[in-house]
Symmetry: C2
Subunit: 263 residues, 2 copies
Amino acid sequence: MASPMYRQIAEDLRAQIETGTLEPGQQLRTETELGKRYGASRNTVRDAMKWLITLGVVETRPGQGTFVVKKPKPFVTTLTADPKIGPGGDEVANYGSDVEAQRRIPFNSEPQVETQKASATIAAELRVAEGSHVISRHVKRYIDDTPWSLQTSFYPMGFALKGADQLLLAEDIKIGAVKYLGETLGLQQVGYRDWITVRAPDAIEAVFFNLPQDGRIVVFENFRTGFDQTGTPMRVTVTIFPTDRNQFKVNVGNLPPEDISTE
Amino acid sequence: MASPMYRQIAEDLRAQIETGTLEPGQQLRTETELGKRYGASRNTVRDAMKWLITLGVVETRPGQGTFVVKKPKPFVTTLTADPKIGPGGDEVANYGSDVEAQRRIPFNSEPQVETQKASATIAAELRVAEGSHVISRHVKRYIDDTPWSLQTSFYPMGFALKGADQLLLAEDIKIGAVKYLGETLGLQQVGYRDWITVRAPDAIEAVFFNLPQDGRIVVFENFRTGFDQTGTPMRVTVTIFPTDRNQFKVNVGNLPPEDISTE
DNA sequence: GCAAATTTGTTCGTATGTATT
DNA sequence: CAATACATACGAACAAATTTG
């Protein structure tokens, strides 16, 4: 009896959900009904609900009721390059093929292109002066019509001035940005480094991914810095993935082919 | 007036924390005091506090008060192998060197060794029958005395019977488990695959890492499957890292040496 | 070591607002 | 428009944890 009543109620309901007595998507009894059943007031039941909500197992809809949450099937992204493509592959292309292998339909929005002054983080990764101008290309990415990731690539402004002017056009670069930079500037991406963190979504991300506003569901933030043949950073790509529907794989060394049919 | 009062109070306090008016570690005024100041009841202030708690910006300590949270300095783990070591390196050794480079002091508990029946997930990764026996070796890992990760490695039971009997001893394998398997069974780890997900911590993890019980702070779960020269899985290592103090790096291709002094 | 004061934690009751059916 | 169900807010009381005298 150490734990307070609202925790006991929450635990009982959670157990019912875990064991499948309550199925995903199913509606729970109303708060007043549960109060009667457990011999508690409606406010105490509501405390139990709040607890279950922060645990992410139920959600409430005003005017309707409380429901067991449905977990979406995760999207798996491989961070290491496909050996057939090598480290020079394009992010969009790479991720795309990875998704197709899972027989899903990816869709990217038209890029939104801006020129900005580099933030401290971006400047440090690109090794340019803080506040110097950079090109940012932003796309929204969907899989099977569900919001999947938000991706922004940053390039030094000099690239466009030296001949890679398509970087400034708000239009998909068909051959891929990396290949385009190779053809126009002779730059080759010989490697990249990913830096993966987890943080609460900002307001824009929460809206796009349809996440609760209170930051219960967090997002992956992946900084990918690409390096050219001289060891200089040529691009920084920041991709945001909500953790509730995304997973990553990293392949190192010689691996047998993966069986994806059972995923 | 669109947003409810408890959100307005929370937003005001959050802004004070963002701008530094309230510093990390600093104590907020008591709930009753804040209620008077904002013209709200104590319960409404408490709703604001709950909101800030799920946002992760404050924490309450019964009998003491409410405090602005201090964010710990993150630990960075590189998932791709050091090129000098190659994909055959040991997890413990690999991670260890990675941490030392950041001039921190890692410490591993003595391993806790058990034989178990393989769970569905472990069996699938190791490609053994579900329910067949496996050896599990579990260590608790600290850096600078703060709990850092929980790591469990699983090996097929056959390894011990065929000569690698030190796997069953609750004692550190000095030369590293991978090298030991090479010497005793001729197995070489030629590659591995990491599979990274994020989930709420279970009760044991929450206690070890000192995380709040309500699952607000989630953990990375990294499944690393190591493969031998025949392409057969030889080991599965599951490592749990709390996301509030851990980050990952992934290196692909040819990279310039990283400047770690500025981290 | 104990008692008092302080502060947050839990629970109840009640009233009113808002969203959906 | 009415009924239903969750959302917000107030007030009150007692419990539990911590610090201080």
